[in-house]
């Protein structure tokens, strides 16, 4: 297996008033290529903070986080933007699609940032939309989509650039059960066929059913790290 993320003695503190709040404390983790892993725990346990640091949206206060061989703490803004642009995909709870652009254009935007030639870009966008089963919606605007469709567009937008790592923060929180399973199955398929590493922040039981590794966080500390056979895939 190929190790793509290493976290060593990570501590993250935020200033609060005159003092500080410790969001993460002495985290030590390692992730291999192709993992389908979730951070679980109650609100305030540090799931999103950890995801943000891995996604180079934030930096450690102490310790070392290395993603695809790059130390997050030492990246310049330009370097971290490049890392996100080329290797990381984000999926958000609220989809966060651009409301004035069509489904096609929302997905295309990720590739525009990579300056991909138009013909290549067109093919990649259609492929991504085919992956998530939305080729019939390419001209629709986000407000014309259902919640499940919106999240599938968000997945297509994240995966169109074929990132090595997908970071999903509560991706099913706004979806009903049927759509949640549909989305998760799409992610599993991506994980298996493209070997994309998925890291989730979640407290949704449905998501946990698909995970192959669950890392439990409590008050910023890892309290359990267990590998398991996914239930949801089998059951879905």
């Amino acid at each position: 297996m190929e190790s793509i993320i290493q976290i060593d003695q990570l501590t993250k503190r935020f200033p609060v008033g005159a003092g500080e709040f410790t969001a993460l404390k002495d985290i030590r983790l390692e992730f291999q290529k192709g993992e389908f892993t979730g951070f679980v725990g109650p609100s305030g346990s540090g799931k999103t903070t950890l995801l943000n640091i891995i996604g180079s949206l934030d930096t450690p206060t102490e310790g070392e986080v290395t993603v695809l061989g790059q130390s997050i703490a030492h990246l310049t803004h330009k370097q971290s933007a490049k890392l996100r642009n080329q290797h990381l995909g984000f999926i958000f709870q609220t989809y966060n699609l651009f409301p004035v652009y069509t489904v096609y254009e929302n997905v295309e935007f990720a590739l525009l940032l990579q300056h991909m030639p138009a013909a290549e870009r067109h093919k990649a966008v259609l492929d991504a939309l085919e992956w998530v089963g939305l080729t019939d919606k390419i001209k629709s605007r986000p407000d014309q989509l259902s919640g499940g469709e919106g999240q599938r567009v968000a997945i297509a937008r994240a995966m169109v650039k074929r990132p090595a790592i997908m970071l999903a923060d509560e991706p099913t929180a706004n979806l009903d059960s049927k759509n949640s399973h549909h989305i998760l199955q799409t992610m599993v398929r991506l994980n298996q066929e493209l070997k994309t590493t998925f890291l989730f922040a979640t407290h949704d039981e449905k998501v946990m059913g698909y995970l192959r590794r669950i890392i439990s966080l409590e008050d910023g500390r890892v309290v359990k790290d267990e590998a398991l056979a996914p239930q949801g895939q089998a059951g879905a």
């Binding site: 934030d58 652009y101 525009l112 940032l113």
Partner: protein, 424 residues
């Protein structure tokens, strides 16, 4: 990418139509009011020019030294020949004779005995030459209270207050007593053709307006005039051009040491008008500046709100790997685009409205009590070269500054903090 962003601007009315409308309105008001402020001050200058100073004025040197005393004994001789040469040398100006004088107006009773007398200021202009523009230039037709303009020799206009005080009616005879240009006693009879309101207390108490030929006859000033005034034919005073005309004219008489040699002065050179012009420009500049500042704050705020409203979008773009400086640059390009479109639309609308006001003006006649020849009732705009670009200051500059300021937030905040603020 630019095309992609442009699509977004077009489709998002909050990013395009709304700011363009706000900017257009702001720029429209800026252009219109700056032109109008300028027009009001220009009107005041024009009143002075039309009534007294001309755009340029020729007098003898001796007359110029004592101009306040209206010394007709120092008047220009050979005025007709001088005007002919001026028309040839400076065809962009219209040249007219004027003579100012003082005197006594005597009103007789039915028996021809003196019923009343009053001091009067007098001015002689060209009333009778066909096509003369002098009455309109001095706003006389609009200032007539009773009667009409003199249509033949021997007719006069007198101030309405004077006429009412001495119960003078239209058609009554009055006698002007004064002095000839040689110092002798002059008297001449006139028929009152009309009464006028000057809008200036001293003149309304007693003044008489007669034709220049009548004045020349009455004051023994054959082919003489106290002053020759020059007016640019487009009606607009141009200080630079006036200076060129003045310099060229005076150069011809530079070697002449005669105190009766003609001397040309610009409007600026007379009656402290240079100071007044500077003051008018200064005040007009301050008013325009205050207006631009107010509009700038409004439009700045529009830019600021536009930028802040899009923090969510910026957060997503950052997460997708777009660089901060790229986002910042696209924000500025958008604001330049929106600011330019709004400024162009606003400037065009402002110029159309200003042009209308320049041509027709707004008549405040009912609001201005005692308005008359010296106080214009119609206030007009004045479109100048600055009208074409002044709207771009609030329209473009403020919009870009507003966006630039809101965009600085992208730089100031660390990515994760911004991300958290966005609730992404």
């Amino acid at each position: 990418m630019i095309q992609f962003l442009f699509k977004g601007i077009i489709r998002d009315k909050n990013r395009s139509v709304l700011p363009v409308i706000v900017i257009s309105i702001g720029v429209f008001l800026t252009v219109l009011f700056s032109a109008w402020f300028k027009g009001i001050f220009s009107d005041m200058i024009n009143v002075n020019a039309n009534f007294s100073t001309g755009h340029v004025k020729i007098m003898t040197r001796a007359y110029a030294d004592n101009a306040d005393q209206m010394p007709n004994d120092l008047a220009l001789l050979g005025a007709g020949e001088l005007i002919d040469s001026l028309n040839t040398a400076f065809p962009t100006l219209e040249w007219v004779e004027r003579t100012n004088f003082g005197g006594l107006i005597d009103i007789a009773d039915a028996n021809g005995d003196t019923r009343a007398q009053g001091m009067a200021m007098g001015q002689a202009i060209d009333f009778l030459t066909p096509g003369t523009r002098e009455p309109e230039r001095m706003n006389i037709p609009a200032s007539i209270v009773k009667g009409g303009l003199p249509t033949q020799a021997g007719e006069a206009l007198i101030s309405n207050d004077f006429a009412e005080r001495f119960h003078v009616k239209i058609g009554d005879p009055v006698t002007l007593f004064g002095s000839t240009m040689n110092g002798g006693m002059a008297f001449a009879n006139f028929t009152v053709a009309g009464t006028v309101r000057f809008g200036m207390r001293a003149l309304d108490r007693g003044a008489i307006l007669i034709d220049i030929t009548d004045a020349q006859a009455a004051l023994d000033m054959a082919d003489a005039a106290g002053e020759i005034l020059g007016f640019f034919k487009d009606g607009q005073y141009d200080a630079e051009q006036a200076l060129q005309v003045k310099t060229a004219f005076n150069a011809k008489y530079e070697a002449d040491t005669d105190e009766f040699a003609p001397l040309m002065l610009r409007l600026n050179d007379q009656k402290g008008l240079d100071e007044y012009l500077k003051m008018a420009n200064y005040i007009s500049g301050i008013m325009t500046f205050i207006f631009i500042l107010a509009m700038s704050i409004v439009l700045w705020n529009t830019g600021l709100l536009g930028g802040l409203r899009r923090y969510n979008e910026f957060g997503i773009r950052l997460a997708m790997g777009e660089e901060k400086k790229h986002i910042y640059r696209s924000l500025i390009i958008e604001s330049i685009l929106i600011g330019t479109i709004g400024s162009v639309v606003g400037t065009l609308l402002g110029l159309v409205a200003a042009f209308y006001l320049q041509e027709y003006g707004i008549n405040f006649g009912s609001a201005i009590q005692g308005g008359g020849m010296m106080m214009p009732e119609v206030f007009r705009a004045d479109i100048s070269p600055e009208s074409f670009y002044i709207g771009f200051i609030p329209g473009l500059l403020s919009m870009v500054l507003g966006n630039a300021l809101s965009g600085i937030g992208i730089y100031k905040r660390r990515t994760a903090v911004l991300f958290k603020e966005l609730s992404v």
